[in-house]
Amino acid sequence: MKRALLALALMLAAPPVLVLPAAPAAAVLPDEMLKDAGQEARARAISKDLRCVVCQNQSIDDSDAPLARDLRLLVREQISQGKSDAEVRDYVVERYGNFVLLKPPVEADTLLLWGGPFAVLLLGAAGLILWRRRAPVAAPDAAPLTEAERADLDRLAGPSN
C-alpha cells in the first residue's frame, strides 16, 4: 500500500510519458469528415451505433475495414443530403437487416432482451415482498442452531464478528 502511494505521489510530481504500441490502423480519417461540425457529430453518433458487418463486434466508427469506411462515407453522404438520423439508420437496415444495429430495435423478437433484466428485478422484488408478508415479522433467531451445527462452528474457533 505504501509503495503504491509513493508511486502515485511520483506520478503527481512528474507525469511519466509512455510510448506504447497501439492498434496499427485507425478508423475515422480527416478526409472523410464533414465540414459542418454539427453534421459530423451526428455522423459520429450514428456510426457508433452501426456494426461493421465484416468485423467482430466493432462499430463502423471503430473499424478500419474497407467496408466500414464505405458505410461511414454513405452515412455522411446521407446526412449532407438532409436525411434525419432515423432515415439514415433505416437506409442501412434495409440493406443489411437489424444485424447492423448494435442497439437492437424494441420489437416482438427482442422483448425479452430489453425487458428481461427489469423483469428479473421486479419479479425478485415481488417475490421478496410476498415472502416477507407470509412470514411473521420479527422473531429473530427463529431457527436455533442444532447441536451438530454448534459443534461445527465451535471447531472453527475465533469469535464471529
Binding site: 504500441p21 480519417l29 471503430d62 448494435l102 423478437d109 432482451l113 428485478l121 425478485g124 464478528n161
Partner: protein, 661 residues
C-alpha cells in the same frame, strides 16, 4: 522425452482423478475414514502430476523444441524468452492445461487447508472437484493433446500473434483462470451441501474464503484485461462488451453476489438455498465462458481457433455439471432449513437487495451476450447484434440503485434496524456527496448532470468506505488507537473494496462525460485543441530501427498551465511490411494525454500527417479502483486465513470419530 513424460503425467493424473471422484464419496456415505483420507492424498498427487505436465510443456516452450506441434505452431526463436514461455498458455491446448492445473491446485488447496472441515463434507467436495477434473483432463487428452509430436520437426516455429506478445499475456490469462476456475471450489461446496442436505452457517464459513480466493484474482484479471485493451486495442476504449469480456464479467457479478449472500448464510443461517444456487451458477457461467471462447459460437476478438467438435465436448461437460447440480438443487434444496428471519431494514435485507440487483445486472450481460444465439435458433431470418449502446443504456441505470446501496449496507445492523439510526450514520457522507453534485451540476451545466451525478456517486462510495473506518475507530470515548490497531482485516477490506467501487465509478463517469478527441491533419508548427488539452506538433523526423523504418513526430502539450512532451511513431517493418503505430501517452492522476500519428494525408492547407489527440480524464481511476477492490478482497482473505488456517484451531475430532451420516 520430456513431451512423453508430460503426456504420461497427464494420463496418470486422469486415473488419479477418476479414483478421487469415486472413493471419497463412497467413504463419506459409509463413514469410512480411510477412503475419505484417500481423497486428500489423491488431490495432492493429482496436483503434483499436472504440475509436472505443465512444467514439461513450459520447458519445451523454453527450449524451443519444435518437434512438439504446439511449440512449433505458437512460438518462434525470434521471440524473447518470457513471451516464448507465456506462449505456453497463449493457445487452446496449453491454456486447457493451465485450466486443469489451476483446478488441481485448488483441489490440493481444499485438501491442505481444509483441516477443520467436517470430514464428510471435505471428502464430498474433493470428489466433486475430481469429477470436474476428470472431464477436463479427458477433454485435454482426447481432443486437445498439448504434447502431440510433429514429424519432421521444423527448424523454426510460427510466431505468436504479435498482438499477444505483450506483458499482458503473461499475467492476464493466469489471473482470469485462477478466478473462474476458482469458482469450481464453491461449486463443489454447493453440490456437497446438497448431497448432505445441509447448508448451515459453518458450511458458509468454510466456503467463504474460497469465494474470495477466486474473486480476488478474477477482479485483478478483469482489471488488467481492461487496461491491456485500453492501450493495445482501442482508442480510449477500456471496455468493449465483447462476448469474451462478458464471459469473465458474468462470473464476477455472480461471484460478488455470492460473496455477500454467503455472509448472510454464515452470520444468520438464512438464504442458504440462494447461496447454493449462486455458487452453482457462478461456476456454470465460467464453464459457459470457456464454451464461448472455444466453440466459435460467437464471433469475438478473443476467440481461439474454431472447432465445433470441441464445442460439443464442452457443451456436454456443461450439461453434465450444471445439469446434475441444478437437478440436485431442485430435489434437495426445498427440504433445507430456511434459517432466521429478519426485519425489512436490516443488514440481511440490504444484502438481499444487493443480490437482487446483481442478478438483474447479470441478466443484462447474459441476455446481451446470448440473445444473438437465441435469435439464431428462434428466428434465423432476423439476425441481431447486441453491442455497447445496448449495455450502456440498460446496465448503467440498473447499477445506480446498487451503488447507492453499497454505502448504506455496512451501516445497517443485523436482524433489524430503523431508518432514523441509519440516516444519522450516513448524514455526513450524504451531505458531502449531495453538495459535490450540486456544485458540479451548476459548474458544468445541466447537460453534464449525468456525469456530475456519477462523480458524486463515486464520492458517496469513497466516503462510505471511509465512514466504515470512522465508525470503527471512534468509539464511545472518541478516537482510539487501540480501536485502530484491533480493526479486523476484513473490515479494512470492506472499506477498501467499497471505496474502490467509488474510484472506478468516478473514472467511468469522467470518461463518459468529459473525454475529448480531435482527429486532423497536422503539419509541424500547428496546434490543435482537444478539450482542455492543446497539442503542438514541433517536428517530424525519419528514423531507422533494428528491423523497421519510422516517421517520428514530436509534440508539445499544454494543459492547465503545465507543459509536456509526447512522441509518436508510425513504423514500417521492412521484412513483413506490417505498419504499426506507437502512441505517446502522458499519464497523470487527472487523466491521460494520448497522441498517435497515422498516414500522410492532405487537407485544405496541403499535405500533413493524420494525428489523433485524446484527453482521457480520470481514466486511470477505473483500473486503480479495480485494484483497490482486489486488495480489499485480499485483506478480507488474510483475515479469514488467520482464523481458519491457524494451528491452534486443530482441535478437530479424529477422523474415525466423525459420525456417519
Amino acid at each position: 522425452m520430456l513431451a512423453e513424460i508430460g503426456h504420461f503425467a497427464l494420463i496418470l493424473a486422469l486415473l488419479v482423478a477418476a479414483a478421487q471422484a469415486v472413493l471419497p464419496m463412497l467413504g463419506a456415505g459409509r463413514g469410512d475414514a480411510a477412503l475419505m483420507a484417500f481423497g486428500r492424498s489423491a488431490a495432492g498427487l493429482q496436483a503434483l502430476l499436472i504440475t509436472i505436465a505443465f512444467a514439461a510443456l513450459m520447458t519445451l516452450f523454453g527450449q524451443a523444441d519444435f518437434s512438439v506441434a504446439l511449440v512449433a505452431n505458437h512460438s518462434a526463436l525470434s521471440q524473447p524468452l518470457p513471451y516464448r514461455l507465456a506462449a505456453t498458455w497463449g493457445n487452446h491446448e496449453g491454456s486447457m492445461l493451465l485450466w486443469v492445473l489451476v483446478l488441481a491446485l485448488y483441489g490440493a488447496g481444499i485438501a491442505r487447508f481444509g483441516d477443520n472441515l467436517r470430514a464428510t463434507l471435505q471428502a464430498r467436495v474433493l470428489s466433486v472437484q475430481a469429477m470436474i477434473s476428470v472431464a477436463f483432463l479427458a477433454f485435454a487428452l482426447f481432443t486437445s493433446n498439448p504434447f502431440a509430436r510433429l514429424s519432421p520437426a521444423p527448424l523454426d516455429g510460427a510466431e505468436l500473434n504479435p498482438l499477444l506478445q505483450d506483458p499482458g499475456l503473461v499475467f492476464h490469462p493466469p489471473l482470469l483462470y485462477l478466478g473462474y476456475v476458482g469458482f469450481s471450489v464453491t461449486f463443489s461446496f454447493a453440490v456437497a451441501a446438497l448431497m448432505e442436505g445441509r447448508a448451515d452457517p459453518a458450511w458458509a464459513r468454510w466456503m467463504r474464503p474460497w469465494v474470495l480466493a477466486a474473486w480476488v484474482p478474477l477482479t485483478c484479471g478483469i482489471t488488467l484485461g481492461s487496461f491491456w485493451a485500453y492501450y493495445e486495442l482501442g482508442w480510449g476504449g477500456w471496455w468493449f462488451w465483447d462476448p469474451v469480456e462478458n464471459a469473465s464479467f458474468m462470473p464476477w457479478l455472480l461471484g460478488t453476489a455470492l460473496l455477500h449472500s454467503a455472509i448472510v448464510t454464515e452470520k444468520r443461517g438464512a438464504l442458504a438455498g440462494w447461496t447454493i444456487l449462486l455458487a452453482i451458477l457462478a461456476f456454470s457461467l465460467s464453464l459457459i465462458g470457456t464454451f464461448l471462447v472455444r466453440s466459435g459460437i460467437l464471433t469475438s476478438v478473443h476467440a481461439f481457433a474454431v472447432d465445433p467438435e470441441r464445442g460439443v465436448f464442452i457443451l456436454a461437460m456443461i450439461i453434465g455439471a450444471t445439469g446434475t447440480a441444478l437437478a440436485l438443487f431442485a430435489l434437495r434444496a426445498p427440504q433445507m432449513k430456511s434459517g432466521a428471519l429478519f426485519g425489512s431494514i436490516s443488514r440481511e435485507s440490504g444484502l438481499t437487495i444487493n443480490n437482487l440487483i446483481l442478478m438483474a445486472l447479470t441478466a443484462v450481460v447474459f441476455l446481451g451476450t446470448f440473445y444473438p444465439v437465441i435469435m439464431e435458433a428462434v428466428n434465423p431470418a432476423n439476425k441481431i447484434s447486441v453491442g455497447p449502446p445496448y449495455y450502456n443504456l440498460v446496465f448503467a441505470p440498473l447499477s445506480v440503485p446498487l451503488l447507492l446501496l453499497v454505502t448504506v449496507g455496512p451501516m445497517l445492523a443485523w436482524k433489524r434496524d430503523d431508518a432514523g439510526t441509519v440516516g444519522k450514520k450516513l448524514l455526513l457522507p450524504a451531505v458531502l456527496a449531495s453538495a459535490l453534485f450540486a456544485v458540479l451540476a451548476l459548474w458544468l451545466g445541466l447537460d453534464k448532470a449525468a456525469s456530475a451525478f456519477g462523480l458524486a456517486l463515486g464520492a458517496w462510495l469513497i466516503l462510505g468506505g471511509g465512514q466504515v473506518l470512522v465508525r470503527r475507530w471512534w468509539g464511545a470515548g472518541g478516537f482510539s488507537w487501540r480501536l485502530v490497531r484491533t480493526t479486523p482485516a476484513a473490515t479494512l477490506g470492506l472499506a477498501l473494496a467499497h471505496a474502490g467501487i467509488g474510484v472506478t465509478t468516478a473514472g467511468i463517469s469522467a470518461m463518459s462525460g468529459f473525454a475529448a478527441e480531435k482527429i486532423l491533419v497536422m503539419r509541424p508548427g500547428e496546434t490543435a485543441q482537444a478539450g482542455p488539452l492543446a497539442v503542438t506538433m514541433v517536428g517530424v523526423e525519419e528514423v531507422a530501427g533494428a528491423n523497421y523504418r519510422a516517421l517520428r513526430a514530436h509534440f508539445v502539450t499544454r494543459q492547465g498551465g503545465s507543459d509536456g512532451k509526447l512522441v509518436s511513431e508510425r513504423r514500417l517493418y521492412t521484412v513483413s511490411g506490417n505498419q504499426t503505430t506507437e502512441a505517446g501517452i502522458g499519464v497523470a492522476i487527472a487523466g491521460n494525454q494520448y497522441v498517435a500519428i497515422g498516414d500522410v494525408q492532405s487537407d485544405a492547407r496541403g499535405q500533413g500527417l493524420v494525428v489523433r489527440i485524446y484527453w482521457h480524464p480520470l481514466v486511470g481511476w477505473i483500473w486503480f479502483g479495480g485494484l483497490m477492490m482486489a486488495m480489499g478482497g485480499a485483506a478480507s482473505l488474510s483475515d479469514r486465513r488467520f482464523r481458519i488456517g491457524a494451528p491452534q484451531v486443530r482441535s478437530r475430532l479424529a477422523p474415525n470419530m466423525v459420525p456417519a451420516e
